[in-house]
Symmetry: C2
Subunit: 231 residues, 2 copies
């Protein structure tokens, strides 16, 4: 309900064409939730009662297989809606939304999702675009997993992360939230050992810089070359 939030929302795609009054009305119905790294907004299998908008931070969406291993399905950056699967006919959250860094989100009761879509021009179409973009990303990842080698997949994953959460520094582009080799292995379907070996190699070649939980891409074009398998 702070003024801060109002102007913030105005800049976000789902709400960009609304009036101040409309924004305030929407905000009145929202809850704020702040989580430390590692906390979950909701978990796979829970009843999908609310949908969310990430104001700040980063979220990883995790699925756990019957066998018990976790894999990271996608990442969500600030400004994006999440937990909207119910609009697609699911009554349960299909995955877990976990904070990859300290995160702040607004949430609304699920029935308002339909209401917002019906009432506010642009909200629905923005919704679809989010879904469409995610479907494309998932398709790409299926292709990658099917055809690419581990080395290429890891390179691709890093590039994707820089696109979604890259922050320019004087050394290169830094991935703007804490991320471990384990995380990357869960994104690419390999082991943290292999990821560690690859990153070490790349660091020796000056392609990246890396400290604990932090990765900076120095020569992105080299990663592109690797992900395209031009050896």
């Amino acid at each position: 309900m702070k003024k801060l939030d109002e102007s913030l929302l105005l800049r976000l795609p789902p709400f960009s064409q609304l009036s101040r009054a409309q924004i305030r009305k929407i905000l009145d119905q929202a809850q704020t939730k702040r989580l430390d790294e590692g906390g979950s907004f909701f978990s796979e299998g829970e009843e999908a009662t609310r949908f969310y908008l990430l104001l700040d931070g980063h979220i990883r969406v995790i699925k756990t297989t019957p066998a018990g291993d976790q894999i990271i399905v996608l990442h969500i950056a600030a400004g994006q809606l999440f937990g909207i699967a119910a609009a697609l006919g699911h009554s349960l959250y299909p995955a877990t939304a976990q904070a990859a860094a300290e995160s702040l989100a607004l949430s609304w009761p699920m029935p308002l999702l339909q209401e917002f879509s019906a009432i506010y021009q642009g909200f629905a179409t923005e919704n679809y675009k989010v879904v469409g973009a995610r479907m494309q990303e998932m398709q790409s990842r299926i292709s990658e997993m099917a055809t690419q080698q581990v080395e290429q997949r890891v390179a691709t994953a890093l590039l994707r992360l820089t696109n979604q959460a890259g922050r320019k520094t004087d050394e290169g582009i830094e991935i703007d939230f804490p991320i471990t080799r384990q995380d990357i292995s869960e994104m690419t379907g390999t082991t943290l050992h292999t990821v560690s070996r690859l990153l070490s190699g790349w660091e020796k070649q000056g392609i990246i810089l890396s400290t604990r939980k932090r990765i900076v891409i120095v020569e992105a074009h080299q990663l592109v070359r690797i992900s395209d398998n031009l050896t």
Copy 2:
């Protein structure tokens, strides 16, 4: 425009709650397209001008990687809508829709997609359900590719196919359209050689029967066991 089509449509989810008159109006605006095995309704990258409803046959949705290998993203069974990605903000078809068997489909100009959604109760929600189901399937496949061995993935793929296109025979459940080892390898991200070896092994064990382009699952529970890695 045949009577056949009218009653057929009435039974399909997207149109199940419509009146005869509404159905006729919808049909008047539709084109019919029949394709032999191997033909394409549309191709990846083309401008998305029409959306489709599969009346009969089976379709495989293919993506080609920059490197040139094809992978089968998903299969579409009779009664399902396809080519509706434009509703999600894409102006180009994101993949190729190829007939896996002789197929018959209706199609409408893309603008009618919004119109149908707006006018006809149930059409829009049915649409979402299709999208939701496909997203879940894609998520599952990402998990599988990330965590499962090739043998498990192939078993899972066969089970999925029997669910989507299984036809009961006296020998077991038959996959109801022509499918090659190559196809299966493109679904599971492996080579046709490995698939051939696996299927041969399973046939020796009496789990499946297989002739050229035809697969019959005899002991589905054994496949479930394999896909769950209970060796």
